[in-house]
Structure formats: structure tokens, C-alpha cells
Symmetry: C2
């Protein structure tokens, strides 16, 4: 029997090509298929689905220990996907994976995340796409998350996921022995509170840093952030379609005229 | 009978405080309530839900014909909402309106839009929020769109909309006499094709401009962009919750282990 063609996997992130997580993810994907890395030259956390319209983009080769590792694009995660598909890859990849992000992309942070946006851009382009995030901002250990990413990607290649949907995967930053399991979750509701702090410059003029505390509005194992905090891997299917379909009937009854 | 308190309305956009559309929207809202304008100092189209984390933000007053018009924030539309709520407004506004954007924010563009993102940020903060866009990139006439925005906002103040949902309103750029009506729509499926073009600089090195053609994947009056092209005002309820709830059951049957 002929051996199946190895899938071509495009790897991206939002922490930039020097982020530790993309090296862990690329290493994990190389065990499954042929890998091309295209990532932002600089960190782009919190860039959401932003794209660069006002300035042109540059592509560069990036070397790690003198060996070619991948390409950088001088823009956002979404720019990377667009440029990779139009100018770097010879043909459409079989899969796009984004991450492994440093910090969880759960609850409301789904909307802010460049990691998730890169995967959504893949889905918009008709490519099966996943986003991976590690729920920590310090002492990141990508050992288990890389292993889980490999396992889930194999399953996705086998089963497929519907168009216009990505899987956003959030993984606790604990050793495998402490992982409780893997659960399918929804995007929990949350809110950043106290979202900017004021300081004064040397001339006494104020400036503002975005800041805040993520307050969870749900505490339920069906919610991504809550599940991750109980040491579960949380897998949330995220849709490109943001319509609140359940409200359409109500609004139609408003009988709006032009 | 005591006259009802006039609502306090926060007006934002993504085209920046010099965009013609925000002046039309602020003028329309002043007929309904007390208005505070907080907008990006510079244009931020295509910035989606991006927020500024690496540099601090500045707030400035903006004057139009020597009269105070509103505040600028040196960041993205989402930054504007965060800074407005934490440092500019004395209390939570009753409503946030974003726009009137120059160019439609229909179909996939919903994900890229800073105009929609500003409204979503309002909804995340628990405030009733709407986004308005005019479907043109040239010869914009905000007369009818301002009038329709006023009418719809009055209705929303009366009826309310559920939490975590914004109304994204796209208005054809034609005189009122040519408007076919107003319909409730869903975010249509679409894709940008040929999403970057290559040029060479004076040294012969390539650079890339994001570019492309929006290809509609649906042609149905229930879809926002299609309806707008038939000269209907398209009102799409957009949710902060991006979960594809219909896929959860299927994924649970994968029986993923840790």
C-alpha cells in the first residue's frame, strides 16, 4: 500500500518568530507533515484580526542556529497568512496551526487574540485551521502542549472540521501528570475591568497604559477559561460567522421602515 | 409629566476624528441626547479588535471650526472605548455608536472592521452599542445614513437589545428615494481573493501591499452585503460570542483524552 502523502502544514503565531511557542509547535508538526513557518517579525499580541493597509509588507528568511527556520512578515498575524498564501507557499497548505501562544486565549480574549485571528483567516480562505495557547504568562513549559497539539491535529486530519470554524485550544501550563483531561468548551463571558491606568510624564502630562483584570462572568465547566483553571485542556469551536442568529426573528418584528 | 433624561451617547469610529462620517453621526445623535465624541487621532481601518499594549496612549481635545468637538486617543478604536470609559466619561454612557464608516462592514469584513470592534467593546462592557457603515469608498453622502442612524437608535433605546450583541448597520450610498427598505440580515460568507500584490523597490527588492477583491459566497437577501447591493439597509445582529455551538456535540463524540 502506498504511503499517504504527508500533509503540508503552515505554522504561524502572534508572539513573533522568536516566540518560544512557535518553535515548540513547528517541532510537533514536523512529526506529522511538511512544515512552513511564516510569522510576524515582531510580537503582535492583542492585534486581533488587524491587517496592514497603510504600509507595504516585507518578507525575510529567519535562521535559528544557522539553519533556515521560516519566514517573517513585517506585519500582523493576519498579514502573515495572507502573504503566505499569496506569495510564499507554492500551493494551498492542508492545514494551518497558530501558536503556541504565550497566555490563554479564552473568553473575551478570543476577540483580542492575534493567534485566533490567524487561524480564522485560514478558515476564511477555506483551510482547516487551529489555534493553540498556553495558559500562562510566566515559566512557560511547552512540552505537554506540543504533544497535545500533535495528537489533536492528527485527529483533525482524520475527522475534518466544518468550513468557517477553527478549533481554539487552551492548554494549562502544568506537567502532563496534572492535566485533568480534555473538554469541549464554549467561549466564556468575561470582561476586562479597570482597563487603563494613568501616569504622568516628566512634564506632568498624563498618559495611559491599557491594563486590567479579567473578570469571569461564568463559572461553569462548559466555559473555556474556567475549564483551563481546573487543569483541563479546553477546545472551543470558533466560528467566522459572528451573527447572533437567535435575534433575527425579534428584530424582524420591529418592522423597521427605510 | 417630567421630561425623560436625555441619554448620554458615546460616539466613536475607526476612520479617525477627521472622518466625515463621525461628524454626521455626532450631529444625528445630538438630536437625541448628550454626545461625547472619542475617536482615534489617525485613521485605523482594518484594525479589527486590536488594542495597544506596547506604548502608552495620549488623550487630546479636538476642535472643529474653533469649537470643541471631542477627544482623540492615539490608538485604535478599541483603545478609544477603553480609555473613554475609564478616563474620559464621568459615568457609563447609555449607548455607544460607532461610525459612520467609510466603506461597508459586511460579510467577512465584519471581522476586520475597527468600527464593529469599537461597538463590540462597548457590548463587552455591558453597554448597548451599534455600528454604522456607508457602503461606498467614494462620493460619500451621509445625509440618509445619519437620518437612519437617528431613527434606529431611538428604536433601540425604546426596545433594547440583548447583552453581548451589537447591531451592525450597513447603509447604501444612494439618496433616500432610491433606498428599497430596511432588512434584518446575517453576516454573509465571503473571501478576499488575491490578497497581496508584489512590487519592487528602487533596489529591486520586493514588497507587498495587501489588496484583493471581495468575492461573495452567498447571494441571498438574508445576507448583509447582498442586501446592501440591492439598496436595502442591512441590519445584522453581531455577537461577542464566537462559539460555533452547533459543533460542540460532534466534537464531544471524538472522545479526546488528555
Amino acid at each position: 500500500m502506498e504511503r499517504a502523502k504527508r500533509p503540508h502544514i503552515l505554522v504561524c503565531n502572534d508572539d513573533g518568530i522568536e516566540g518560544e511557542g512557535i518553535h515548540a509547535l513547528a517541532a510537533a508538526m514536523k512529526k506529522i507533515g511538511q512544515v512552513t513557518v511564516v510569522a510576524p517579525a515582531e510580537p503582535h499580541s492583542g492585534m486581533s484580526h488587524a491587517m496592514t493597509l497603510g504600509v507595504p509588507l516585507r518578507i525575510k528568511k529567519f535562521f535559528k542556529n544557522s539553519r533556515f527556520f521560516g519566514y517573517t512578515v513585517s506585519g500582523t498575524p493576519v498579514d502573515c497568512i495572507k502573504v503566505a498564501l499569496s506569495h510564499i507557499l507554492p500551493e494551498k497548505p492542508d492545514l494551518i496551526v497558530s501558536g503556541i501562544n504565550y497566555g490563554s486565549n479564552t473568553a473575551t480574549n478570543t476577540l483580542y487574540s492575534g493567534t485566533v485571528a490567524a487561524a480564522l483567516e485560514g478558515a476564511i480562505q477555506g483551510i482547516t485551521s487551529l489555534a493553540f495557547s498556553l495558559a500562562t504568562y510566566e515559566h512557560a513549559d511547552f512540552t505537554y502542549s506540543g504533544k497535545f497539539a500533535r495528537k489533536l491535529v492528527k485527529k483533525v486530519l482524520l475527522e475534518g472540521i466544518p468550513p468557517d470554524t477553527v478549533l481554539s485550544v487552551n492548554i494549562p501550563n502544568v506537567p502532563e501528570s496534572l492535566i485533568s483531561g480534555a473538554v469541549i468548551t464554549r467561549q466564556g463571558r468575561s470582561r476586562w475591568e479597570e482597563s487603563a491606568i494613568e501616569r504622568n510624564d516628566m512634564y506632568g502630562n498624563p498618559y495611559y497604559w491599557l491594563n486590567g483584570t479579567l473578570r469571569l462572568l461564568d463559572e461553569d465547566m462548559r466555559d473555556d477559561e474556567f475549564a483551563v483553571r481546573q487543569n483541563y485542556v479546553a477546545i472551543t469551536p470558533i466560528s467566522c460567522d459572528m451573527t447572533n442568529h437567535s435575534l433575527i426573528g425579534t428584530l424582524e418584528q420591529w418592522n423597521l421602515q427605510k
